[in-house]
Symmetry: C2
Subunit: 351 residues, 2 copies
Amino acid sequence: MFEKNKRINYTELKEFSRKVMRKAGCSEEEAEIVADVLVEADLRGIHSHGVSRLKRYVQHIKEGIIEPNKDPDIILETDLSLVVDGKNGVGQYIANKVIDMVSKKAKTSGVCIATVRNANHYGIAGYYAEKIAKNKMIGIALTNTAPLVVPTFSKHMLLGTNPIAFAIPANSKIILVDMATSIVSRGKLELYSRQREKIPLGWAVNQKGKGTDDPDLVLENMKNRSRGGLLPLGGEGELFGGHKGYGLSLLVELLTGGLSLGNFSYETYNKQGGISFFFMAIDLNIFGNAESIKKHIDELLVKIRNSEKAENCERIYIHGEKEYEKRDENILKGIMLDNPTIESLNELDRL
Amino acid sequence: MFEKNKRINYTELKEFSRKVMRKAGCSEEEAEIVADVLVEADLRGIHSHGVSRLKRYVQHIKEGIIEPNKDPDIILETDLSLVVDGKNGVGQYIANKVIDMVSKKAKTSGVCIATVRNANHYGIAGYYAEKIAKNKMIGIALTNTAPLVVPTFSKHMLLGTNPIAFAIPANSKIILVDMATSIVSRGKLELYSRQREKIPLGWAVNQKGKGTDDPDLVLENMKNRSRGGLLPLGGEGELFGGHKGYGLSLLVELLTGGLSLGNFSYETYNKQGGISFFFMAIDLNIFGNAESIKKHIDELLVKIRNSEKAENCERIYIHGEKEYEKRDENILKGIMLDNPTIESLNELDRL
């Protein structure tokens, strides 16, 4: 049993998560990787993708959306590509396995791209892109998701939040961009709803496809697969570039569901998860001396960090920094989870 | 001499552009490709990147920023990569040449990536991504630009507008996403300035790094390389995802100036252009049957097109459609240019 308002040691949280997934029917290897990916998210302060997901995963296993103990099938393989069928297995397990294959092939070929169909939610996309970058390569990880986002001028949730994760090793540390192509994720709306707060106008639209500040309305519409939903990065219409966010989301759909001949976001969670992934590893050495490139990149980072701050702003961040610093802090002090998450963990503990 | 308020036949405009570039010192091949890329932009309605650029190109040649009659050097070559030094030659000529090499290599290897340093402005990025897609491959074209965009929480124009162009062949037509990673381009501000209109708050910031609706102030600051500038997609701060647009812009800097050991945007136009490119071609056949993939992608397009429109919206677009339809219209009816552009052409004609 976990106590509310008290920090939890991350190894303890990982061990707990592993046991929950084992009890739910996962193999040792599956349970280990799920626990690792979830706790990594919490360590980095991305609680929407942390152990708060455990309850949903257990439920998904019960419902047959996730099928534990399934090894992905390799449908097609070339020197620099893989097409994988995840057989609706555990998302993190599939992704991690494919990432290892992609990294290995890219080390030999210079580049490797994998596309995966029939997978499941894999947690934070950044975990996988980063794993490639730790191997001194550029890592890209894309996934489609449940349909939650409306294309520009539509009121129909067809697109996923379709995150893009991109990692590149600099000399100092890894630069890690990990972003939903919607302005915010569903998790953010759930947070506002729990706190009984309105959301900023411009994040989401109602059934008419027009802006709303009511998170409960949008969440209810998501649950019923009604109309309305999250807005792509850039917002409603085209004035602030909503069509660009929509374009990025489309790009992710095409590279995941498209190339894999898998499901598009609007076809997912129909009996089974049916999520699609896209991974790419690019060895820096195909462009010359990797160390020179990494040093060169550090110049850009220094320049940005040291640039003049906008009024009332204290610091300019490079992507990944906030999360890595949070991680260092949470490893030392423990992870602080919100009360609903603690309750969900204790509920799982009692099962 | 071109008449104001009258449509111009595109072949006539292309021939005129070719002659201007020839007179400015370009080789026949250079002049041809510059004319083609510029007029393609005007045909598609992207006038900020059309023949209105001719005057600036001629000026850049005079100033030595662009050096005509320079063939790019291949610094490094593998089965699936190219590193190219553009020697500050003509941007369109370099890009077009590299795109042909990348396409050819990808047809053999499955994937090819090129990175280019010391190049110049190449016009619309979509031209190059599309050229790859016409070869039934996925095309990606990135470029950094003059420094015009402020990173989140900074007031320093360090990043370029850094457009991302992505093209993929569907069964029906090519899907072409071509977008600056800033909310709008400098060209949009120039348009508002000419029309003596305020810009929407949220596009750009003043010298303090805070929102402004004054296009002239921002343009003046750009000219003086002062502070303030364009905002990344997602806007000021993080509330609407400005850090995501900043992340995308960073990604482009890293893949262009970073991998090529070339200039970052803030180092460009220092005596010479010094622009960096990144191109990638991916053959669909490395993922199985290209025709099946293209058919599958068409399903997504049909679903999006036929989805329910938001209130008061008449049509949902797939990226590229607007421009292709405009192109068809302009080929038939001629291209309508604004008066300042007509004046600049007539000025060039008198030289």
